[in-house]
Subunit: 353 residues, 2 copies
């Protein structure tokens, strides 16, 4: 089974080769539909199955995804769906769908295409670090090439038509995951997220829509898809993310300058708990790992990389743990297993003197 | 200076040779006054100085304290007074007094006599573990011997007369320090302390009257000193302490039986924080060390004794740290120093596999 292999390594977009220390990942997705065919929510099962088959064939003609993997949602177990959600490859809504919905995903997970989610197509490119322009170019190329083989539902006045009007126009949602522990420790997160909201950007927690912001991870994305072209949307988001990164770096510098013992205490406590707790709940793990990542980036931790922390966060998600264990784990078993994985992965790591 | 030597080692009553794992220490004190002389609160300075001199001479004739140390309160620095309070050798009230008040204390700190506190004499014996009867016998012997050389204020109907009526009669206050982490983790501390109060015992926190119960340490003592003879007071306290110890042991057994992972998690977390925090506030330190002590007594920790934990608790009190540092430490410096001492003392300690 494909998912068996996925859980063995982190998605390449978590490898942090371009990690700015602040932007964890960059993602762009395009919503597209096929002219003359009902949106998945209205279409019958047969229609969905037929369309899915047709789209798979069309996608084989697109070089970037010609050799991609394919998974039918209906054949995935609940745990496997969790794994794919945790890897940001599918949405919760997609996981609920039945026959005729499928995922096309490249081996490196940089490109993932959901067929028959809310729209016929959700094309996504994701990359570690601050790489909005390159993921935009990647998915734009897939979109253009696929457009030669299928006919998109497009209106000259409205742009791309989508099941939900909030996606109409460009169908573009660009987002970055920003890690803001410096701003949090300085008590300035709220003023930053409020400013972003006022500028019409959406700010969400680590696990997407409706999730709380924990681990000091925030998804920032464009709110509107209509009335602005793709280049302007991307430019505006890049500009604002650069500003948030500048503020986070500034907060970190001020922390080191004026509150060094406090930061070292916070990093030390996080490390101490991660390496000694016997039960480690999911949210606490992400919070502690977030502070430890700050420590790594400030040079307070030895023998650990930010990429390794991202991997631990992923491997200790409920879906990943259960997939690896090969069985359903009860709440306490999950907390025990998570504590063991974290300790194991942090072996050999120490605080700088 | 005498206090310089004191801070270098724990009081012998912290050595836990008889530590039941539950009762940390046993203490008995007797309030006594000299016939025909005003209580210290009413007496003039000259009168106090004269009495103090006379009592010192009388005490030299009592074998148990013939070679004891003597310290004048007026010559002690604020930090030295803190040290003596933290070692349970003097009271806060005594520390405020001036000329004519002094402390007689044996080298092993088992017997400490405050001259001119609230009463002319406060005779105390203290010992590690559950040793109420032997400390009672010890201080009773001092009291009887001293009674041959001075004339106590005594009324055939009321018994010993004291400055505060709450001490009149026997002048006896017997107390034990009980460590109840098992009952706390089982959520049963309150029902135990309430029952003790109903039975007319006083229950106080680690640092005596008015202090909160932290570190799960509770001082249990007789409330009334009148209308019951010494033997009955001691018997009733011993009986109730034995019952509390039984309940604490029972709680620990139930914890290990039904909530083993929870206890191991709590012990692990405490150890992780103690060995990795950069700033360690006083109350948190005592709480964490309390849980670690439970771990030691349940066999979950290697290379550490309960006595060593008692020593860390003492050495990280503000007075002791400042005396050892030789200077006044600001709040953050204290938390940094405390964190360093704790880490240093726990070097080589580990959690059992």
């Amino acid at each position: 089974m494909v998912v068996d292999d996925l859980v063995k390594h982190p998605g390449s977009w978590l490898s942090t080769e371009n990690d700015a220390g602040v932007v964890v990942s960059s993602r762009v997705r395009l919503a597209r539909n096929i002219r003359g065919i009902a949106f998945p929510g209205w279409a019958g099962e047969d229609e969905c199955v037929k369309l899915c088959k047709g789209l798979r064939e069309a996608l084989k003609k697109v070089p970037a995804v010609a050799n991609a993997l394919f998974m039918e949602v209906a054949k995935l177990s609940p745990v496997e769906k969790e794994v794919l959600k945790e890897r940001h490859l599918i949405s919760s809504e997609f996981a609920e769908r039945g026959a005729g919905s499928g995922l096309v995903v490249t081996g490196d997970e940089r490109i993932a295409i959901m067929i028959n989610e809310e729209d016929h197509l959700r094309l996504q490119a994701i990359s570690p670090g601050m790489n909005l322009l390159s993921v935009w170019e990647e998915i734009n190329a897939v979109d253009s090439e696929l457009g030669r083989h299928v006919e998109y539902a497009f209106s000259p006045s409205l742009g791309y038509l989508t099941a939900c009007p909030s996606n109409a126009g460009t169908g573009l949602r660009a987002s970055v995951m920003i890690h803001m522990p410096g701003l949090r420790l300085m008590g300035e997160v709220e003023q930053v997220t409020k400013a972003l909201t006022r500028m019409d950007f959406a700010v969400r927690g680590l696990l997407g829509e409706g999730s709380d912001a924990y681990g000091n991870m925030f998804q920032v994305s464009n709110q509107s898809t209509l009335g602005e072209n793709e280049t302007d949307i991307m430019a505006r988001l890049i500009q604002v993310v650069d500003e948030v990164v500048r503020q986070e770096r500034n907060a970190r510098a001020r922390l080191l300058e004026s509150r060094r013992s406090f930061v070292m205490d916070q990093v030390g406590r996080s490390f101490g708990l991660l390496t000694h707790a016997g039960l480690m709940p999911s949210m606490e793990a992400v919070d502690l790992l977030s502070t430890l990542k700050l420590g790594v980036e400030l040079g307070l931790v030895r023998n650990l990389t930010a990429a390794a922390i991202h991997e631990i966060i992923l491997l200790t998600q409920p879906g990943h743990m259960q997939k690896i264990a090969g069985k359903i784990l009860e709440a306490q078993e999950r907390d025990e297993t998570r504590a063991k994985i974290v300790k194991d992965k942090l072996r050999g790591v120490s605080l700088s003197k």
